[in-house]
Every structure is written in structure tokens, then in C-alpha cells.
């Protein structure tokens, strides 16, 4: 602890304010990503930057980290004018950043990865010793000689954090750091952050998870539509009041009306299989999968990203087929040996997590993307061989109108739509096909709050019309508010399934960590 005090003394030699931002604006064409933004971060403060996707948080921190150049306004760091031209400029001035999508290299070792982030350093024993010291001080544990390829999300993040800490930063920026962590890993991260703040280092913490912000941060700057709307002490606010300030309107509760037990029927889809090996060695192997879902109900599968969700989705959608037909049974019919197309004929539809490049093709227009999964409906495909452009366009038009998809035209490329609009289009594309079973993975990842509500309503409507929905998600709030029953996946194993009403976030967190899953 004395060491920590010594560092704190060294750092506090500077003034109380660490970063000051005044009147910062940034325009992309006519669109104001940031307008007249003011921000003040004190030394040793953990400062939250709250806002929805698209509120301008990323643009702001990109300017602080030297990735973007502001159009107007000025910044001050440690009482000196600060205008970084590049990330390396920012690093030299004492600003470090941990990205949401980790900038790590799979084929390289942890040590090599860290060396790459440090100017002029080579992955030798001297560096290894220095890293060990930092790891020790902040209780971060990684094995330096392992390849990043073999690490989980939490460990990868630690690699990034160590890389930044090795530069002895005064100001540390973390972009949505907990989105891939288990509750327990999150706890560990918070311990590290508290320690950094005790040393007098400042932290900008970007998030839209209100509970976390209330637990961790000293102050919060709220952003909406590119502007700062308020600066508050999050500990004095309720999650609800913070949320309302962030979104700017009262949140309508989305709580699933419970399916009455009288209506519960026998399972529509049952999966019962031993080990499932994915085609790519990068995906997780599943062990002893058992799940079943009844008509008209929504089953939630929670879990930290990278625990076998991809393999599970492929297994359900038919991208991965099994030799034994009986492993998956739909309405009494064995289907595990059938491919995607045949399962779709039987009413099993889906929407994968990755919208561009899996659910849709970025370079193709919306109506062409319709052909991908809906070609066997509404006469889009004639005689099994000819494509009717007119029918495909009519279908796309119906999706756009029914589900309020904002797009300039049917001929717009999928890549030109915002995340929320594209997701509405993609779920709508399947919804019009009247699915019996609908499998969806992280549908609201990177989607703004309004579209999020809309998508939740789409899923619930689907269930109300009798479909069985399987919702794979990392968002605990989403799962608790939308689903009827819930289970968790960890290291390729599924937990027992519980009714959602009996589930608490703590219990779910434990399930996500693999507790209660016997091996």
C-alpha cells in the first residue's frame, strides 16, 4: 500500500483537474456527432460517460484519444493545452485507451501482444519482468507465453489493460469494458479500477449499464444526440432516473405477460445430444446439450460471449448438422440431419448475431437480401430455379412498411442501414415467414434503445402468435424482461432451465460462470 501512496503523491503533484474539454464539436457532413461538448475529469476520479448508442460518446473519446480531430473547441490535460494528432500523441501525453473490440493478435503470445503496444519494446525477459510487476500490483493474472488465441474474453481484456497500464497513464479510457465479462470478472475489474483511482489516475468509463455506473463512478456526464444533457452524481440517482435522462423520455416497461400454465403445451422443439464439434476449431465444443421449448414461449440462453453460443446457434439453425436425426426433434419429426433449407421449410427460422456477413450480405441490396432466407415464400423462386425480382421487391417492401424500417430505398445496400433498422428488417424478414421456432442471437447488440424496445415487442408478438422463441443473449436485463424460462451456457455446457420469475440477476450470474453445471 505504501507503494500506492508513493505513486499517488507523484501523480497528485499536478493540479486537481486532469482533463478539461470545452466547447468541442465534431461534424460528419451535416450531421453533428458532437456539439459544444464540455467535460471535466478530476485527478483520481472515475467519471462515467453515459448515453445510448449514437449519443456521441465514442466520437468524444476518439477526439480525446487523438483518433479524430475536433472541428471546434479546446482541451486541457494536466493544466496544459492538449490537442493530440494521433493515438501515439495521446499516449505520450499520458492518455491510455482500452477498446471495446480488443486490438489483440490471436497468433501472437500475450507477451508479444503487450510489447506491440509499447513503443520501442521487444518481447524479452526484461519486459516480462516489468509486466509481472505491474500484474502483481493490480492483481491482474495472465500467462505471458500463452497465445491469445487460447484466451477467453476476460483474459484478452486483461492483456489490453496491462498494455495500457505499462505506459503509466494519467487518464485511462475504457469503452464498454464489461460487455463481455461475467459478473465476477466485472467485480475483479472494478477492484483494479478502484486501485488505479486510489493512485490518483483518472478514468473515463463509457457504458450504458446504469447499475454498474452507480456502483463504480464518482460522477457521470450524460450525453444525448451529440450534446451533454447533464452532469450528475450517479450515487444520488436511481437507475430509472438515470435511464430517463439518458433516453430523454419515460421508459415503457417491457415485461412479458406471463403465459398461463393452462396454455402450456408439450415441447415443440427438443434438443438432446452428447458432444457437438463445430467445423471451425475457433468455436467452442458443446457437451451434453439438452433443451426444449414449448409453443408460445420464449426460452432465454444467457452466457458470456465465446462460451459456445455460436456453435449452439449453428446447431439449431442447421448450419451444423448431426449424423443422428433424433438429436433434434421438431413437432415429433427428427431434424438433426437436415440442413438449413429443409429446416426452414419445417418452420425453423433464425437471425444470427452477426448482422452483416452472416444474416445479411453488406454489398447486396435489401431486396436481394430477402432472397437469402425467404426465397421459398411468395413466389420469389419460380420452378426452383428462376428468381422473380418483382416478388422479392414486394416482400422487402412489406417488411419495410410493416416494421418501420428507415431506409432510402429497396435498392439500398444492407451495409447502409443503421444497426437497429437492419435488425428490424432481418427479424421482420423471418417474421413474415411465420416461424414455428425462431432462434435469435443477441438481437439488440449495438442497437439504440427505441429499436431495442421494438425488437423485444417483435419477439413477444411472435411468441404470442404461437411460435417458440429461443433468445441467446448476453444482456441480462433483456433476458429477465423478455423470456419465460431461462438457462445459461458456460464452456459449452447448458445449465438447468428455470422459470424467469424465479430468477435473480445474482443467480443468473452464478449460472453464467458455470456454477451448478455439473461436469
Amino acid at each position: 500500500m505504501t507503494e500506492s501512496v508513493a505513486i499517488a503523491e507523484r501523480l497528485s503533484a499536478s493540479s486537481k483537474q486532469c482533463l478539461g474539454v470545452r466547447g468541442l464539436s465534431k461534424y460528419f457532413g451535416d450531421f453533428a456527432a458532437n456539439r459544444d461538448v464540455t467535460l471535466s475529469v478530476d485527478a483520481g476520479e472515475i467519471h462515467a460517460l453515459l448515453g445510448e448508442n449514437g449519443a456521441g460518446k465514442s466520437t468524444l473519446v476518439k477526439m480525446i484519444y487523438g483518433i479524430l480531430k475536433p472541428d471546434t473547441g479546446s482541451m486541457e490535460l494536466l493544466a496544459k493545452p492538449y490537442s493530440p494528432d494521433s493515438p501515439s500523441d495521446a499516449k505520450h501525453s499520458g492518455v491510455g485507451m482500452v477498446f471495446q473490440h480488443f486490438a489483440v493478435f490471436d497468433a501472437l503470445t500475450v507477451l508479444e501482444n503487450i510489447a506491440l503496444g509499447l513503443e520501442g519494446r521487444f518481447p524479452d525477459e526484461i519486459l516480462a519482468a516489468e509486466i509481472a510487476e505491474v500484474c502483481d500490483r493490480y492483481r491482474l493474472h495472465v500467462e505471458l507465453n500463452r497465445r491469445v488465441h487460447d484466451l477467453g474474453a476476460g483474459e484478452r481484456q486483461r492483456v489490453e489493460i496491462i498494455r495500457v497500464l505499462m505506459q503509466d497513464p494519467r487518464l485511462l479510457i475504457l469503452d464498454e469494458p464489461t460487455s463481455v465479462l461475467t459478473p465476477q470478472e466485472t467485480e475483479q475489474l472494478f477492484t483494479t479500477l478502484d486501485r488505479l483511482s486510489d493512485e490518483g489516475r483518472s478514468i473515463i468509463y463509457i457504458s450504458h449499464k446504469l447499475d454498474e455506473v452507480r456502483a463504480l463512478c464518482d460522477r457521470a456526464t450524460l450525453m444525448r444526440a451529440g450534446q451533454v444533457v447533464d452532469v450528475v452524481d450517479p450515487r444520488q440517482e436511481s437507475t430509472r432516473s438515470l435511464g430517463e435522462k439518458m433516453i430523454g423520455e419515460r421508459l415503457t416497461e417491457t415485461k412479458r405477460s406471463k403465459v398461463s400454465s393452462a396454455e402450456k403445451k408439450k415441447a415443440r422443439l427438443t434438443v438432446r445430444v452428447g458432444d457437438v464439434y463445430p467445423e471451425s476449431t475457433r468455436n467452442v465444443v458443446l457437451n451434453d446439450v439438452y433443451l426444449s421449448v414449448a409453443p408460445g414461449s420464449i426460452l432465454g440462453i444467457s452466457g458470456v460471449s465465446g462460451n459456445g453460443q455460436d456453435t449452439l446457434f449453428d446447431l439449431l439453425s442447421g448450419e451444423l448438422i448431426l449424423p443422428n436425426p433424433d438429436s433434434i426433434v421438431l413437432d415429433g419429426e427428427p431434424i438433426a440431419h437436415l440442413g438449413v433449407e429443409k429446416r426452414r421449410f419445417l418452420g425453423l427460422l433464425g437471425a444470427p448475431e452477426n448482422r452483416l456477413g452472416h444474416a445479411a450480405i453488406p454489398e447486396l441490396t435489401l431486396w436481394e437480401n430477402v432472397i437469402l432466407t425467404a426465397r421459398h415464400t411468395r413466389g420469389i423462386l419460380k420452378n426452383d430455379h428462376l428468381i422473380s425480382g418483382t416478388s422479392a421487391k414486394a416482400f422487402a417492401d412489406e417488411v419495410i412498411k410493416t416494421f418501420d424500417v428507415r431506409t432510402p430505398s429497396l435498392n439500398a445496400k444492407a451495409s447502409s442501414l443503421s444497426g437497429g433498422n437492419l435488425q428490424k428488417f432481418l427479424i421482420g424478414r423471418e417474421l413474415l415467414g411465420q416461424p414455428k421456432v425462431f432462434v435469435v442471437s443477441n438481437p439488440t447488440w449495438g442497437v439504440d434503445a427505441k429499436a431495442q424496445l421494438f425488437i423485444h415487442q417483435m419477439l413477444m408478438k411472435m411468441a404470442d402468435e404461437g411460435a417458440s422463441v429461443i433468445l441467446i443473449s448476453q444482456d441480462i436485463d433483456e433476458l429477465l424482461s423478455v423470456t419465460d424460462r431461462i438457462c445459461a451456457i458456460c464452456h459449452g455446457r447448458l445449465s438447468r432451465t428455470f422459470p424467469t420469475d424465479e430468477m435473480t440477476p445474482e443467480h443468473l450470474g452464478a449460472l453464467m460462470l458455470g456454477q451448478e453445471i455439473d461436469s
Binding site: 461534424y27 460528419f28 457532413g29 479524430l68 472541428d71 439453425s317 442447421g318 448450419e319 440442413g339 438449413v340 433449407e341 426452414r344 433464425g350 444470427p352 452477426n354 456477413g357 452472416h358 444474416a359 445479411a360 450480405i361 453488406p362 454489398e363 447486396l364 436481394e368 432472397i371 437469402l372 432466407t373 426465397r375 423462386l381 426452383d384 430455379h385 428462376l386 428468381i387 432510402p408 430505398s409 435498392n411 439500398a412 445496400k413 451495409s415 447502409s416
Partner: protein
């Protein structure tokens, strides 16, 4: 500051503006090259590009050269859309010529309406087999089709050489490495009284129309394109990557083989060690020049065929080697690839975001 920004909607004319700019830049650069060799660009370009077309003979020659380019170009456009890089069309052409030629020689002197179709079938099958090898190795062992199809090209050329030096050599040919001349029933009719333009050109046009239909309307064409753009999304859509690899290489092989047998029966009239001045490789340029649109392969093929005639004219009238047409072709492809940015992106002037 100049920067580029993705277009939300691409219109058809964006592509043609890009092609036009590429053509202008190519001619400008070629002129500069000629000037640097001490030649007057305007009169030189006229002499090598325009004068060869001033006669029926010239046009007929042009069509003869364009025939294999268009035929193969259409097949390659389909394959490249699918992201299958068959760059061994030259070898498939040679195999087609060899197999078709062998059939023609086996039935030497036999008349009958069925002889010609049989020869064409033989050539097509030869190319098909040569395309099937990289397809099989790609699907079964994930071996890179670029390298396999290319290596097979050299093997095919050597195979043809073995055959015309040995078993297929003309017994009365004084040991020259050439086969007998094919008889009339094994020769495609000429289109004009002068030059070598032959019926194969009509086949080439039919391929282009058929190819357009496959791309625009046929589900297979869509399936192949989707697989080329995103294998993961294709799998989710229920399309098989293996099927696309097979289709692309089988179509490429069969059509190139057909082009090969058409070349020997329509143009050359016998088997010789060297039946193609790299038509199979040049067809790659044709496919890109047409921006992978089968119908546009027709003008693209004619233009590149003209560059061959121009090469011959350059050798005769300017004394520069015929192989230097490759400079022209390479330049054209460079500019075309460079300007294709304009199709999907918009150039904007102003401050970068």
C-alpha cells in the same frame, strides 16, 4: 482534402463511367509510351488500332480472335463472381483443343452430321476434367485453386506437346510436330470469304446471352455470387460452398474446353504444339473489363481481340514485339481496377470526417 465515402445506392452508369475513364487513361499512357520510343502516338495508334479493321479480312480476323476471349470470359465472369479464382482457363482450353482434336483425328475421313457435335463434346469433356481437378482438390483438401489450376496449365501445354510430337503426329508430315489437317466434316464453317472468322463467334454470342440469363435470373447465379461475397451468410442461406466451387470450376473448365476445340476446328484446322496465344489468361482481363457482366464481355472481348491485332500490326509496321500488347492489356487492367473504386465509393472534396 479528398476522401472517399461509400455509396448507399449504386446505379448502373457508375460502372460505365469508371470503365470509360480507365480506357481514356490507358490510351493516354500507351501514347506516352509510344512517344517515349520516338513514335508519333496519333499516327501509330491509328496504324495499329484502326487500320487493321479497314477490311472484311480485318473484321473477320477480329472475330476469330474475339471468339475464345468472349467464350471463356463469360465463364470466368461467373466464376469470379463466386470468388473462385480459376486462372487456369488456358490449360482447360488446351485440354479441350487436345481432346477435341484427338476425336477429330480418330474419325478422320468419316463424314456424318454427328461427327462435329462429337468433336465438340470431346473437347468440352476434356476441359471439364481439367477444371474438375482443382475443384476436387479444393473441396476435398482445401488446396488453393489459383495455384492448382495454374500448375495444370503448364501440364496441359506439355501434354499437348507430347501428343503432337508423338501419337498424334501426321504420319506424312516429315516429322514436323503437327497433326494431319482436319477433314471438312471436322471443321467449323467460316463466316466470311476472307479471314478466319468462323461459326464459333456465334456460339460465343450465345454463351454471353446465356451467361447474362444465369446471372440475372437464375438462382444458381445468385447462389454463386452470394457464396463469393460471404461464405458465412451463404451457409446461413442454405447454399453450399462446395457446390459453388464445383459449379464455377466445372463451368469454367467445360466452356474453356469448348473454346479450345472451337479454336482448333474453326481457326487452326489441325493440332500444333501452340494452339493459343494465352487466350485463357487474357480472358481474365476481358472478364474484369466487362466488370464481370456476361453481356458486357462481348464488347470487352472485341476490344482485347483488337489489341492482339494491334500487336501484330505493331510488329509489322512499327517493328516492336507483338508481346508488347501485354503492356497495353496490363495497363488497361491496372486502370480498370484503380477506377473501380469509383463504382462503390464517391469521391468527396472537403475536410475528412
Amino acid at each position: 482534402m479528398i476522401f472517399v465515402e461509400a455509396r448507399a445506392v449504386t446505379r448502373w452508369y457508375h460502372e460505365w463511367i469508371a470503365v470509360l475513364i480507365a480506357l481514356i487513361l490507358t490510351v493516354a499512357t500507351a501514347s506516352a509510351l509510344l512517344a517515349s520510343l520516338g513514335l508519333d502516338p496519333v499516327s501509330s495508334l491509328h496504324r495499329i488500332f484502326i487500320r487493321p479493321l479497314n477490311s472484311v479480312y480485318g473484321v473477320s480476323e477480329l472475330l476469330a480472335k474475339a471468339t475464345p476471349l468472349i467464350t471463356i470470359g463469360v465463364a470466368l465472369a461467373l466464376g469470379f463472381r463466386a470468388g473462385v479464382w480459376n486462372i487456369g482457363a488456358e490449360g482447360q482450353l488446351v485440354m479441350g483443343g487436345l481432346c477435341g482434336g484427338a476425336v477429330a483425328l480418330a474419325f478422320w475421313g468419316v463424314d456424318g452430321f454427328w461427327v462435329m457435335p462429337l468433336i465438340l463434346l470431346g473437347g468440352t469433356l476434356g476441359g471439364l476434367v481439367w477444371g474438375a481437378i482443382p475443384a476436387f482438390l479444393k473441396v476435398r483438401f482445401n488446396a488453393n485453386e489459383i495455384l492448382v489450376s495454374l500448375m495444370l496449365t503448364y501440364v496441359a501445354i506439355l501434354m499437348l506437346s507430347v501428343m503432337v510430337h508423338g501419337p498424334l503426329r501426321d504420319p506424312a508430315g516429315f516429322n514436323f510436330p503437327e497433326s494431319r489437317l482436319f477433314h471438312d466434316a471436322a471443321t467449323l464453317p467460316k463466316l466470311f470469304s476472307a479471314g478466319r472468322g468462323h461459326l464459333g463467334f456465334v456460339f460465343a454470342l450465345m454463351f454471353a446471352v446465356l451467361g447474362t440469363w444465369v446471372v440475372k435470373r437464375w438462382h444458381l447465379g445468385f447462389e454463386m455470387r452470394v457464396t463469393g461475397l460471404s461464405p458465412t451468410a451463404a451457409k446461413f442461406a442454405g447454399y453450399s460452398r462446395d457446390r459453388t466451387v464445383w459449379m464455377a470450376l466445372l463451368i469454367g473448365g467445360a466452356v474453356s474446353g469448348f473454346a479450345g476445340v472451337v479454336e482448333v476446328t474453326g481457326n487452326i484446322g489441325q493440332l500444333v504444339p501452340n494452339i493459343s496465344p494465352s487466350y485463357g489468361f487474357t480472358a481474365i482481363i476481358v472478364a474484369f473489363l466487362a466488370r464481370l457482366h456476361p453481356l458486357a464481355v462481348i464488347p470487352a472481348g472485341l476490344l482485347v481481340a483488337l489489341s492482339y491485332l494491334a500487336g501484330e500490326a505493331a510488329q509489322l509496321s512499327l517493328g516492336i514485339p507483338a508481346a508488347s500488347t501485354q503492356v497495353f492489356q496490363g495497363l488497361l487492367l491496372f486502370f480498370l481496377l484503380g477506377t473501380s473504386l469509383l463504382v462503390n465509393y464517391r469521391i468527396r472534396f472537403g475536410r475528412i470526417g
